[in-house]
Symmetry: C3
Amino acid sequence: MKPNDFMQFAQKLWPLNRSLTGRGVVQTLQLIKEIIPELSIKHVKSGTIFLDWEVPKEWNITHAYIIDPSGNKICDYSENNLSLVGYSIPILGSYTLDELQKHLFSLPEQPDAIPYVTSYYKEFWGFCISQNLRNKLVEGIYQVVINGTLQNGQMHFGELVVPGSSKKEILISTYICHPSMANDQISGIVVSTFLAKWISENPERKYTYRFVFIPETVGSKYYISQNYKKLVKNVVAGFNITCVGDERCYSYLPSRDGHTLSDQVARHVLNTEVGDYKTYSWKDRGSDERQYCAPGIDLPIATIMRSKYGCYPEYHTSLDTLENFVTANGLFTSYELYQKCLLTLENFCFPRATILGEPKFDKRNMKPYLSQKKDYVNHILISEFLTWSDGRNSLIEIAEKCNVSTLELIPIMKILQDSNLIIQIAGRKNNN
Amino acid sequence: MKPNDFMQFAQKLWPLNRSLTGRGVVQTLQLIKEIIPELSIKHVKSGTIFLDWEVPKEWNITHAYIIDPSGNKICDYSENNLSLVGYSIPILGSYTLDELQKHLFSLPEQPDAIPYVTSYYKEFWGFCISQNLRNKLVEGIYQVVINGTLQNGQMHFGELVVPGSSKKEILISTYICHPSMANDQISGIVVSTFLAKWISENPERKYTYRFVFIPETVGSKYYISQNYKKLVKNVVAGFNITCVGDERCYSYLPSRDGHTLSDQVARHVLNTEVGDYKTYSWKDRGSDERQYCAPGIDLPIATIMRSKYGCYPEYHTSLDTLENFVTANGLFTSYELYQKCLLTLENFCFPRATILGEPKFDKRNMKPYLSQKKDYVNHILISEFLTWSDGRNSLIEIAEKCNVSTLELIPIMKILQDSNLIIQIAGRKNNN
Amino acid sequence: MKPNDFMQFAQKLWPLNRSLTGRGVVQTLQLIKEIIPELSIKHVKSGTIFLDWEVPKEWNITHAYIIDPSGNKICDYSENNLSLVGYSIPILGSYTLDELQKHLFSLPEQPDAIPYVTSYYKEFWGFCISQNLRNKLVEGIYQVVINGTLQNGQMHFGELVVPGSSKKEILISTYICHPSMANDQISGIVVSTFLAKWISENPERKYTYRFVFIPETVGSKYYISQNYKKLVKNVVAGFNITCVGDERCYSYLPSRDGHTLSDQVARHVLNTEVGDYKTYSWKDRGSDERQYCAPGIDLPIATIMRSKYGCYPEYHTSLDTLENFVTANGLFTSYELYQKCLLTLENFCFPRATILGEPKFDKRNMKPYLSQKKDYVNHILISEFLTWSDGRNSLIEIAEKCNVSTLELIPIMKILQDSNLIIQIAGRKNNN
């Protein structure tokens, strides 16, 4: 897979009008299924009650726009689907400018940008417009046209479970409910889809992988409510993937607990592969980690992003595009970083030496025979690895003691395992 | 209660000659009982043996002074009860200046001040005098008059137990054995008495409150020896109250353990309500925490003070007065701060959400329906509170994570409890 | 014992040609036995297999040198035993300068120094020479003479077990396999021998002491393989003693674990007795701690040195001498510091007060009867000691809380124990 494959897939996803429900969501899932054919596209009926929530009505729009007093079409949903407030009710009517203003949204600080606004849980209609255009609106009668339906139907989501040799699971979740925005929507779908493809095509796998493509919040909550016992029992690590498309600074948002395996892996990979990245705190949460890590659910879900939602100027506006913000390289390098996280998870263990004391390195050609001053206090990496392989240090902790990345240690660990000098144990050895 | 009530009570207590025993102690306890009528005034006989100690004789003085060679009365106990060394034996005699000097105490560095000196456990007599006056003493014969008794009698102390819905106790201890000094004596009695009044008059109460008014050291040791099992079993938190009358910097002296519930509460309330305060260490102990926190007793007793004993120049001298050091406002604000500590203790718990994942805030009018960029990553305090309500974080820890005081969280906790969204559990939930 | 005794013993040890095996090792052990007659000199046959290793052949040299083209004798082993590469095979032959160069070792950065080189585990011969001399070698034929044997024989080592009242052991290990170098060889033998003498002659002893004099690496590994269960069961602390002869900065190398009793004692004694010392990490290991602390062996062995092996310019060269680097005072003060470590170990315990609350100090003459301002908040050391004697703090932790050394506390602990005010318990009291 090349960076361009990522951008081409992103461009296909771009024009669809995604929301919590509706055709755009189904089309998005079908495009994902073209890349990972094993994906199950599932649905649940509007009005279904779960936890403290209810599955919303299905929302579908055919066209939506405003005719201004001069007869020009403005806020045309077919030109930019951000123009219509999400979940606007169908309507046909004439309004004075004053009346219309109560239904318009713009951003005075970003006068060129159309904002992204939704009203999922209260019946309402509205349009989003650039401040510049709004400033030019003149007195007169405006014709508002919102054609479509908001009625009982289905909420759709996708699920792919790739079995591994263990029933323990890695959970990758991304959301599919935002319209045409690049970093805060499409990037998450693209990277998650290609990770799913990579995992599916890779025959060696310790863990079972669960990929979930769902509407944010209501979707993840519904998914958790249906899979609660299984998730709590099996998920050992996972990531909520979003905002992984640009090339600005990397970001890390911890799980609520902050010390789960996912957090350890994310920090280690960011420290060794990226170095300079921004660490947020749980106070800064805002995506589905809010559900996965909620009290009583407590899944070990962390998030690695590029520019984090809410923290870049283009966020939730028409400026978050594939042209001037998200790049093929940004998508691809985020994908590669998540691959490194998954490799680290696959190899995560507590290595334990099987031999008492140092093995004789020289007879194994791991050290020179001649002992000279200059060689004396230089430990080779293999000896550093072995000295910490006492079953009490994890692969990540050993890497940090050796000042290298886990990826550098994995081949050494394989050599030592093949020489029967270590075994891998799954859990930390107790003191005594 | 107003600041002036505190000062008026302080002024009534001022003239009494308190010591380990004697009429001044009994009169002090009677004045306290006027404010908290349920107070029990108890006593124990001189010579009673307990632990490594013995109840001292009862000491009562009618008059004490020196007649100088010119016939002037100096060091008159009736003018300032610090003038006589505490527990001085009765005596009547004539002495040369040289002989007298061995029984005089003054402070060269504070030449205006009369120091406070005692000799509880060795028979002795002496007078305390300002250095300035001492310098003026001339050669000649001095008549010494100490009239009174030092004989078997009683040691008195006060106790008030206010039952709560739980048998678990909060212990408030203060001492009543110092003569006329304001910060290091009277302030502790005043604040403790008014806290007892407030607790007694407050019908809603989780804990049982035990207020103890005792002679320092020998009194608290005796009290512990008589109530050991009960105290060790029931006391969950408490404070030794002393030096709470001036308006200089607040001070915190930890329990010996340093991490008890009392310490957590004291530090949290000081951090959120005061901000700038001085933290002492166990090395700086000097009052009854020495007994309550001793090995094998280990009660969770911390101390919040204003200017700490031993650490302000007026300490243990005639300069520690109600006129130039302790203020009505100092007494009252110390009282208010202890109220906040007790409120935090009363509400202390480990809140646990009863719902899986975030509740639907909008349908409860806790969040707007419309989702806009500006609202997106602002968590409201109620949501911050809930996310940490996993039964593993205490109310104080949640307040610290939310960067607010427990007092701000208490009303939110009540709303959530009334909505059945959380329950309060008494002890920390284990991992798993 | 005086500093000069240490230097005289060092001078006796100096000329012997030590290696893993051979006459020099046996003579060294005999010199040690002159000072500690109870020493057992043991041996094991070449070729004996243990763990991943094998006991090496015995190496004995009678003479070794090179005759240069002018007929001069150079690299004469009888003048400096570093001149011959350790474990060189016997040989007699003529070589051109080019051929000879492949068998010569020198240090361009230290042109005056003869380096120390060995080839224990691969058959080889070679000579070590100063760079200055090497630069002067001319073309021509060189006669090489190495006369001696490398054949099956014995590996020797010494062991002294001094029984104490407990079967629990303190292990002191030093190596005996380096030829004539002062700090990195002789100092370790000298200090260990005199410590063994001191322990043997001292009738009061809680622990059993095990002193081991062995060839480095192969010797310690063999010793561990033969005594594994006993060592793992009994050793509670210990030190690998090496590089303790000069007067430069003290050094501390932790055990692999870093927090064993030996580490606590070493750090405490260095902090209180030395103050300014260099702390190395486990990455810097290089002597027998590599074996004693290996995974699965995990003995609590730390090391206190002066100039650490590998970290001083004279290291492993002919410059590491008794004339210009190691001193009588350096040897003696290192010995004294280790004595303090052993005294701290002997007295290590968790003191627990037997009395509830503070004892009455004045009646025991531990505090003045008169209470004056200046005395009030000064705790005497005995009271500080008692307040922490709750069975949860070790002697070292109490010393650190009191800001003194354990050596200052030991007499106080004895007084309190004799007064039945404390008992010593061996292990930390649990909370509850």
